[in-house]
Every structure is written in C-alpha cells, then in structure tokens.
C-alpha cells in the first residue's frame, strides 16, 4: 500500500488506522473558537426553527375549529366550510364567502376555485413562454445574444410584485378589455398575465440551467449520427432535461400559488365559483388573507378560518418546493451518471 492510497483513504474517511486523529482536530480548540462555532451553529439552525415555529403557530390558531364546539357553532357547523348551503335569504344552496355580517358564511370553495383558476391560467401562459425562451437562449442564441437575453429575463424577477400588480391593474386590464371586450375589467385572465410576468423568470432560469446541463456528449453524439439541430433538441436535449423542466414547472407553481400582491390588485377579488371562465373575477386564498387578516379580531371563527387557509397554503407551497428541489437533485445525479 503506497503513500498516495493512504491519503486517499484518509480523505474518503475509510482510514484503516484508528489511532490517527482526523485532520484539523489534532490540537486543543480554544474556548473562544467553540463559542463562535456554537453561535454560528445556532444561526444556521434558526431557519429550521423558524419554519417549524411558523407552521406550529399558524396551525395552532386553526386547530380549535376542529375541536372546539363553540368555534364550530360560529361557523355554522364544520361542513359549512366546504358544502353548499341554502343560507337565509338565498333561494338555493350556494357556496358563499361572506365572513362579515349577521350570518357570516365561511364557505372556502370560492377561494379554492379562485386560487386554482388563477394559478393554472398563469402556468398555462408562463410555462410555454419560459420554456421556449429557455430553449432559444440555451440552444440557438449565440454567446452575445445569450449574455443580453439571460440577464434581461432574469431582471424581470427583480421587479417588485406590487409594481407588477399596479401595471396589471392600470395598463394590462385596460388593454385586455379593449382587445377581448371582457365584461369585467379586472378578471382572472388579467391577474394570470400579471402573475406570469413574475413566474416566467423563475421557470426560465431553472429550465435554462437544466437544458444547458445536458451533457455535451449526448448532443454531439446525436449530431454525429446526422440529426438536425431541432431533432437533437426535441429528441435528445428535451428528454434529458425533462426532470429539470418538471422542477421548473413545480417551483413556478409554488410561486404562483403564494403570490399575493398581483392577484390582489388585478383579479377583482369577487368570491365567485367559476372554474372555467377566465374572464370572470377570482378571489384567491392569498389575496383573502392579505385583505382580511388585518382587522379581524383574534380568536373568532373568521380569524381561525383564515389561519386554516394559511395552513393549507403553507402545506401546498411547502410540498411543491420540496418536490421541485428533489427533482432537481435527482436530475443532477442522473446526468452525472450518464456523463461518466
């Protein structure tokens, strides 16, 4: 066994000689170092603590809805959260979100419908745009064009969402109404366009990374076999980068779900149950939280339902972000495996 292989063993942690102490621990650590080490350890773990605490606190406010009879009575029964009901003054059973009034109505279905509608519409607009630009920038554009385009698209991500919201409210809404003659000036479609402005840079960045990290050998191999450029992209690059594109979509979806300001300003916020009409208004969970949580009195049913909505939103975005991260990680591994 030579000197070199011994070093390799030590570095890789497979040292066969236990008598040796690991590198960097051969001397007594001064106390001040320990203090500093522990201090930065606390800081590093603070993020995890924050997530756990945030979730626990949000969920704690929502939980009494399920256990406390008094809170349920305020709701009009737990089933009032999800099921249509013939409320006094209405001819037939309907889903109604009217949390303030003599008979408060906490049916969250209009909010779920609004959230799903706006989010999916935004993804329908954003993903094709982002993917096509990512394909162009990563596969076709020359170096100079790429160095102009990539930062420009990514710069869009730095526009504050309130600015995008204002832009949607004032400019986009009028343009959309003039173009399509929509009945409602502020509607889910306008909000979705505004929202897609926020999502495109995110999806683009991840997609572009994924496309560019497809090993050169695969592309060159295909070209050597006589494939045209578009064939290489469609049959080789895109399939290889598919997990990355999926991750981009999932992370974009997470962002779209959580985005507040743009939908608050541009969607009209009417709590209607209209899943398939993009030109009607929509009230999302985020917009509802933003506008109602400020002045609701702590502890009453309205407060708890809002926290329940917050918990649901948190879980959705958390799962989506985790899924995106896992997919990216797997992609990295697979490509590394293919390249070697």
């Amino acid at each position: 066994m030579g000197e070199a292989s011994e070093v390799v063993e030590r570095i890789s942690g497979r040292a066969s000689t236990p008598a040796r102490t690991p590198l960097g621990q051969g001397f007594r650590t001064p106390r001040s170092h320990l203090v500093a080490e522990n201090a930065i350890r606390v800081v590093a773990f603070a993020a995890i603590l924050a997530i756990v605490l945030i979730f626990a606190i949000i969920a704690r406010e929502a939980l009494p809805l399920f256990f406390d009879a008094e809170a349920q009575e305020e709701l009009g029964g737990l089933d009032a959260l999800l099921f249509a009901r013939a409320w006094p003054g209405y001819p037939e059973a309907r889903h109604i979100w009217q949390p303030v009034g003599d008979v408060p109505k906490f049916d969250v279905v209009p909010l779920l419908a609004g959230t799903v509608k706006v989010t999916l519409l935004a993804m329908l607009i954003a993903t094709p745009v982002a993917f096509l630009s990512a394909i162009y920038v990563s596969q076709y554009a020359g170096k100079r064009v790429r160095e102009l385009l990539k930062p420009a698209i990514e710069l869009l991500a730095s526009v504050p969402s309130v600015v995008l919201g204002f832009f949607s409210l004032v400019v986009l809404a009028s343009a959309v109404q003039a173009l399509f003659g929509t009945t409602y000036r502020l509607n889910a479609f306008v909000a979705a366009i505004g929202l897609s402005l926020a999502i495109v840079p995110l999806v683009f960045t991840i997609a572009e990374d994924a496309l560019r990290s497809v090993p050169r050998e695969l592309v060159n191999g295909a070209l050597a076999l006589g494939a045209r450029k578009h064939q290489v992209i469609l049959r080789v690059v895109l399939p290889a980068a598919m997990p990355g594109l999926a991750a981009a979509t999932v992370l974009g979806l997470g962002r779209a779900l959580g985005e507040t300001m743009i939908v608050l300003m541009a969607s009209g916020n009417a709590a209607v149950v209209e899943l398939f009409d993009p030109t009607s208004s929509a009230r999302t969970i985020t917009a509802t939280l933003a506008s109602e949580l400020g002045e609701v009195s702590p502890g009453d049913a309205h407060w708890r339902v809002l926290f329940l909505l917050g918990t649901v939103l948190f879980l959705f975005t958390f799962v989506l972000n985790r899924a995106g991260a896992v997919i990216i990680e797997r992609l990295g591994k697979r490509l590394r495996a293919e390249a070697t």
Partner: protein, 344 residues
C-alpha cells in the same frame, strides 16, 4: 493555522451575540409602570383647565374609527407631551359596554347610543355625553359616461345585492352592471352593508378592492361600473344623487350630508360618561381644533363643518350646539346629545 489571530474575531462574534441576547432579555421586561416620567420643563401647549402632564386616557369602540382615533391620539400626544392615549377597537357596542363598566374613558361610536345603552348608563347614575368628531358620508360613483340621473335607495340596494343586474332597469342604457365594493374589513363596507343593503350580503360578483382610490380608479375605467366610497375622493367619476324613500334625489354634498337630507351620511361620535372632565375634556376640545380636524381628512373622513367653530362654553358644558358657521372659537364644546339624528 495561526491561532493567535482568530480569537479576536471569535470574541467579537461572541460579544455581538451576547449583546443581542441582552437586548432580547431586556425587551421582555419592558412592561414597567405605564406612566411616562413627568417632564417638568414641558408645559402643555394648549390646555384649558386641567394640567395634562402624565395624563392618560383610553378610547375604545368603533372599528371604523380606530384609525381616526389613533391619529387623534398620536397628534394629541405630540402636542401634549407626557400624556398617554390608548386606542382600541371592538365595535361601537363594545365601546359603550366599556364605558358602562368604567374600563374606558371615551367610547368611540359610529352610531348614536341606543335606548338600552342609555338606560344602562342611567342606572349607573350617569349620562352619556356625545361629541361629534368627524363626518362620514358615502357617495355612489359611476363612470362619467353613465347617464342615469339618480338612484333610489331601494334601487341601490337591489343593485348591490345582485337583484338588479342591468342598467336599463334603473333608467340607463342596456348594459350589465359591474359592481365594485370594498374589502370586508373596511368600515365603509360594513356601513354600506348595514345602511344600504339592510344587512343582506353583497352580490358574489361584486369585486372587492383594497381602498376608495382603487374603487374610483376601477369605476373611472369602467363605463358600466358602480362603486361607493367617501365624497371627498370622487375625481374622474360621477357621483349619483340618491333619493331616500319618498324623497327627492339629493346630491352628495357636504351640506346635504350635514343637514341629514343625504341618505348615507353619519357623524362619528365620541361618548363620555357624564360631561367630560380633565384630560378627556381637554382631548375632546383639542379634537375640534383645525389642527386635529386636519387629521380627519387623513383618516379618510370629513372634518366637521365649521370645525373648531363650537360655542363659547368651556369643555364640559353640555348644551352648546356646535354645527353651524360661527367663527373660529377658542374652546369648542361637545354638542348636545339631543341633536344627533343623522345617519341612522
């Protein structure tokens, strides 16, 4: 490795965290005695009667008035150093209850006190004394291109309940009515719901916007839109004259709001148990000064007509009728309870 160089960084880091920890600890103990130290060298600028040093006052009640009362409190504390004013919401009824059991000095109310509450206070041997502090009136906006001459309150209610959905039903052109409403946490929303819709729900299709400015912006861009909000904001939109039941249409002007002929206007009120004394009297007198009334506009309401133009009686005198156009007085008085009818 040069161990003699790093300790400095480590110690710096450690002390930084030590300091942070100390700050965090001391933060927890901040709930000392609530009274601030009396400042001997700071005489109150305009204090008729009682000295205000170290005085404290609590205001509780109407959620609509929380922002207004907070602005009043901030302004008063700024000009009367050393006094502490606490403002909380809960609703007009909560404010009256607190006034009844003595947990607040002043009850904020966006409606006049009702008979039951008056009786309860009388049982305690005291009388609710009311001071108008601001005027709140809602205008109904439509697009400038909309030609409807006026609306009755019944029509307005039908429109916002979603029963009337086409402008042709109320004398306009054949076009759908697009509703613009406010978020349900807004006092304006609650007031409109209570006084125009009679407590019924807004139509689900009503778009909710985060402020009067947003409503006006939306209506001004929408030829079929209708919205509501404060009178003072209306720009780029047309305000519709409203007719109370069996009455002629009345334009939403400040005068009509003050004389009560305009159907959706009200005074914002502050009540004390018995004639205000001490700090409460000083505060209520200050609220009617031009300085304080300027804050009313900031909070989205309207200054009292002829604000700061009360009678000549000092704070605590009960019977001086205040709305009117008398010249600026020095010490405005709370208005008499009897003359409050507007807005109900």
């Amino acid at each position: 490795m040069r161990p003699h160089r790093t300790p400095l960084t480590a110690v710096l880091l450690a002390s930084l965290f030590g300091a942070a920890a100390l700050v965090a600890c001391s933060g927890g103990h901040r709930e000392g005695p609530p009274g601030p130290p009396a400042e001997p060298g700071a005489p109150p600028t305009a204090a008729p009667g009682e000295p205000t040093r170290g005085a404290s006052l609590s205001l509780k009640g109407s959620d609509t008035m929380v922002i207004l009362a907070q602005r009043f409190a901030d302004g008063y504390m700024r000009s009367h150093e050393g006094s502490v004013l606490e403002v909380s919401g809960g609703g007009s009824g909560t404010g009256f209850a607190a006034l009844l059991n003595g947990t607040t000095d002043i009850a904020n109310a966006s409606r006049p006190i009702n008979a039951r509450e008056t009786a309860a206070l009388r049982e305690r041997g005291t009388e609710a004394v009311e001071t108008r502090v601001a005027l709140d009136a809602l205008a109904v906006y439509v697009s400038e291109s909309n030609t409807i001459p006026s609306l009755t309150m019944a029509q307005l209610s039908g429109i916002f309940r979603g029963e009337i959905t086409n402008w042709s039903a109320v004398g306009g052109s054949d076009a759908p009515i697009i509703l613009y409403s406010r978020e349900n946490n807004s006092g304006t929303y609650a007031y409109f719901k209570e006084h125009v819709l009679d407590g019924a729900d807004f139509a689900a299709t009503a778009q909710t916007l985060p402020g009067t400015a947003a409503v006006i912006n939306a209506v001004s861009h929408d030829p079929n839109g209708i919205g509501y909000g404060g009178i003072g904001y209306a720009e780029g939109v047309r305000t519709v004259p409203l007719a109370a039941e069996g009455a002629a249409p009345v334009a939403p002007t400040m005068e009509n709001a003050v004389n009560g002929s305009y159907p959706i206007s009200r005074f914002l009120l502050m009540y004390t148990a018995g004639p205000p004394t001490g700090t409460a009297a000083d505060f209520l007198a200050w609220v009617l000064t031009p300085e304080a009334q300027a804050l009313v506009t900031e909070a989205g309401f309207f200054p009292l007509p002829g604000a700061a133009a009360g009678g000549a009686g000092g704070p605590g005198s009960e019977a001086a009728p205040s709305p009117g156009a008398s010249p600026e007085g020095t010490a405005p008085a709370p208005s008499a309870p009897a003359e409050l009818e507007a807005g109900s």
